[in-house]
């Protein structure tokens, strides 16, 4: 044999799916929501998206470079973190706030815990919550959409539909579904998020176990609570709760983040139910109308416990005995 043959232990073939290709597909699936956000809130939203992604990439590169680690920015996970963080920003936010958020998400939440795969919370959401606590005023100042790439005027701001619902006001469900309401850049349009979710499922990036148990258990709790306190079954309230706030974006794009989701199938079901329960608690009894971000990062912390308790039964070690 003239040249050396490769020798390794089986299996000798690998699927084409890589971490990089998965992250790329997540970015593609986020495009409908991103594009709608830019259309709805104007070019400032595009600027926010660009600087947040850049901030995440630069932070990751600088940290890994100076710590003499393998540079992993090409795996695309920092892009996904940046994009998700940007989509969670109010459209009129000063640009330096999401930049700071990106640094926090990548440096503190991701890299200090050991880099990709090791973070205990979703970096984008942890970054958002950090900003929410640090810059509450800026982070809860929601601009009214100008539409068709118009400029958002900083002074024109309004309540998000969910805050209006909480205050007992009526909301327009159609505009909530299509997205021309106040809110963060990427969360307002249910239809754009669902289009992205269909892509995610179609690309086999996620399955529906977590999103459906999450949304399902949340909806059931809302209905039961409504009945229990004597308000009866209020379809409009339920629909507003489902379409409003970050529930759809959170359920399909952030609760499904691999690293911070249980690896086992039964664990994923339990995780979805816990998410639904916490979101319901925060939204119904909390001070804020929102609850998705905190529910997700809190549930993230429970993942190691869930994975420990909910393991699959090994084949032949239970179930039907032969």
């Amino acid at each position: 044999m003239s040249e050396m043959l490769h020798v390794s232990s089986s299996p000798h073939i690998r699927s084409k799916v890589t971490t990089q290709s998965l992250m790329f597909m997540v970015v593609i699936a986020l495009l409908p929501a991103s594009c709608f956000g830019i259309y709805n809130f104007g070019l400032h939203a595009l600027l926010i998206i660009a600087v947040t992604i850049a901030s995440c990439l630069v932070t990751e590169f600088v940290y890994e470079y100076f710590m003499h680690k393998t540079i992993t920015i090409s795996d695309g996970s920092a892009v996904v973190t940046g994009l998700l963080l940007a989509l969670n920003m109010p459209p009129s936010i000063p640009w330096w706030i999401p930049v700071l958020g990106g640094v926090f998400a990548i440096l503190i939440v991701k890299q200090l815990f050991g880099g990709i795969g090791q973070n205990i919370m979703n970096p984008a959401l942890a970054g958002r919550c950090f900003l929410l606590i640090s810059f509450t005023g800026h982070m809860t100042n929601f601009a009214v959409p100008a539409g068709a790439f118009g400029h958002v005027v900083d002074t024109v701001s309004g309540a998000t539909p969910l805050a209006a619902v909480k205050a007992g006001e009526a909301v327009n469900l159609t505009s909530m579904f299509f997205g021309n309401t106040a809110g963060t850049i990427g969360e307002t349009s249910v239809v754009a998020i669902l289009a992205g979710a269909i892509l995610l499922v179609g690309f086999e990036v996620i399955d529906l176990r977590v999103p459906l148990t999450y949304i399902g258990s949340f909806a059931i709790l809302v209905v039961i609570y409504g009945l229990a306190v004597g308000k009866g079954f209020d379809m409009n309230f339920l629909a507003a709760q489902l379409c409003g706030g970050g529930l759809m974006l959170g359920a399909f794009f952030m609760a499904t983040d691999y690293v911070t989701t249980p690896i086992t199938k039964t664990g994923q079901l339990a995780y979805g139910v816990i998410l639904g329960l916490l979101t319901w608690l925060f939204r119904m009894f909390g001070n804020s109308a929102e609850g998705v971000s905190y529910a997700i990062i809190f549930s993230n912390l429970l993942v190691p416990l869930i994975e420990r308790v909910m393991r699959p039964v090994a084949f032949g070690k239970g179930g039907k005995k032969a």
């Binding site: 044999m1 003239s2 040249e3 050396m4 043959l5 490769h6 020798v7 390794s8 232990s9 089986s10 299996p11 000798h12 073939i13 690998r14 699927s15 799916v17 890589t18 971490t19 290709s21 998965l22 992993t72 795996d75 996970s77 880099g115 990709i116 795969g117 090791q118 691999y258 690293v259 911070t260 989701t261 690896i263 086992t264 199938k265 994923q268 994975e307 393991r311 699959p312 039964v313 090994a314 084949f315 032949g316 070690k317 179930g319 039907k320 005995k321 032969a322």
Partner: protein, 439 residues
């Protein structure tokens, strides 16, 4: 009705089109044949010939080294050149009887049976044992041992494994297509041993032409049925196959017999047929020579003891220098570093690939995506097991059922971070099994 299947598994590129259309071609060996004494699980066979002896085709040249062992037969006529150490497919060395081919192919006389009528069960098993029949799917477990369970009357199913779920392999496919009557004949012999058993010929749905042929043949066999399985890897793994066809679960501490099942691969059943009905021993097998590096991929009927390099020449040689050559399928086969190894009873394929996926895809960190969990037919959490094994944490590895792994390779295949999960788990398993044997 859905097709029969199991939970977990993967769908790799199957590559079967390369070789499936061409009929099996019989090829003759060159001057030197090498018969390893260990071509099966169990004790190596003991040589019964000496240097200078003349041997004939079908002559026993090594006898079984115990009950769990099998004799080895010459596949050519010629002179014994000696008994020496030769390399096997895993890169190790074993005793081998080297025979110089005289190209006369003079055969010993076999004792064929006209029919199974009135033949004793013990006689059938004896014929299988004397024929040196072992599991030809890869493991090489002596077939007469498998067919001698403690309570033969409790065996309910004889499963003929024609799933051929390994990508690229088409030898069982060609066998079922070209000699279906031998498969049915072999199954008839095995069913004769188990009065209360039904015989299932299990075939994946990507081989419907075989299903049609087999169904035609079993029409008048009240005890036989053809079962169609979903095309998915590892459908043909023993435990997956038993679950798919009978819904019984077999774990690592059980034998298929504990679930009332006997599982035999297609070519093994053919070998049983030949040993019982024709009285001829196992000395030939079908080898798929395929892969994108091979000029003319196809199946060959090869005499055991032939040299791998010679078979590649028969297939037109290489298109260009392959990066990797695998003995067996891509999921569970062995990577070869030298082609100068002999064909044994368990050599199912020679797969020559121009590009090695493993080297081309560098490893990165686990992102916890769960693809390994979803693909695991043993319902384990491979990413965790691999970590335990990298940390040499035997206690946790055992607690998390690491020994239930069947080493099918689904987790490594599907990992987007390209972690060598199966490989890590395998090395821990081997260590634990070796330690157990020492005690």
């Amino acid at each position: 009705m859905g097709l029969l299947t199991f939970k977990g598994g993967i769908h790799p590129y199957d590559g079967k089109d390369l070789s499936k259309e061409k009929p099996i071609k019989s090829i003759q060996p060159k001057e030197e044949l090498v018969y390893l004494t260990s071509q099966h699980i169990g004790a190596p066979a003991k040589p019964v010939v000496e240097k200078g002896d003349r041997v004939l085709v079908g002559q026993k040249i090594a006898e079984a080294g115990g009950f769990v062992s099998a004799p080895v037969h010459a596949s050519v006529s010629g002179t014994v050149k000696g008994i020496e150490k030769r390399m096997n497919v895993t890169g190790g060395f074993g005793d081998a009887i080297v025979v110089e081919n005289d190209f006369q192919y003079e055969e010993v006389e076999y004792a064929p049976l006209k029919s199974l009528e009135g033949v004793e069960k013990a006689d059938i098993i004896k014929r299988i044992q004397e024929g040196g029949v072992v599991g030809m799917g890869g493991a090489g477990f002596p077939t007469h041992v498998k067919l001698s369970p403690k309570e033969p009357d409790k065996m309910e199913y004889v499963l003929v494994n024609g799933a051929e779920c390994e990508p690229y392999l088409t030898s069982d496919y060609r066998r079922m297509l070209e000699n279906p009557e031998w498969v049915v004949g072999g199954l008839r012999c095995i069913l004769k041993l188990f009065d209360n058993a039904k015989g299932y010929i299990c075939i994946e749905a990507n081989k419907m032409d075989c299903v049609a042929k087999m169904e035609e043949l079993v029409k008048n066999e009240p005890r036989m049925e053809v079962k169609v399985l979903k095309t998915k890897y590892p459908q043909g793994a023993e435990r997956s196959l038993i679950y798919a066809t009978t819904h019984r679960e077999v774990n690592s501490s059980m034998l298929p017999a504990d679930a009332g099942c006997v599982v035999d691969n297609i070519d093994t059943v053919v070998a049983v047929y030949k040993a019982v009905m024709e009285g001829s021993p196992l000395m030939q097998r079908i080898v798929t020579v395929t892969g994108d590096a091979i000029k003319d991929p196809r199946n060959f009927a090869v005499r055991t003891g032939s040299n791998y390099a010679d078979i590649i020449d028969e297939a037109g040689g290489f298109v260009s220098q392959p990066e990797k050559i695998i003995s067996g399928g891509p999921m569970m086969g062995f990577g070869l570093y030298d082609l100068n190894v002999p064909v044994t009873k368990t050599s199912s394929a020679l797969l020559c690939l121009l590009h090695d996926d493993v080297a081309a895809m560098p490893e990165s960190s686990c992102i916890n995506c769960g693809r390994c969990v979803a693909g695991c037919p043993a319902h384990l959490v491979p990413s965790q097991l691999a970590t335990f094994s990298n940390h040499y944490d035997e206690e946790k590895f055992l607690k998390f059922d690491g020994m239930e792994c069947c080493e099918c390779g689904c987790c490594s295949f599907s990992c987007p971070a390209k972690r060598p999960l199966t490989q890590s788990i395998k090395s821990m398993r081997r260590t634990i099994l070796a330690n157990r044997r020492k005690k």
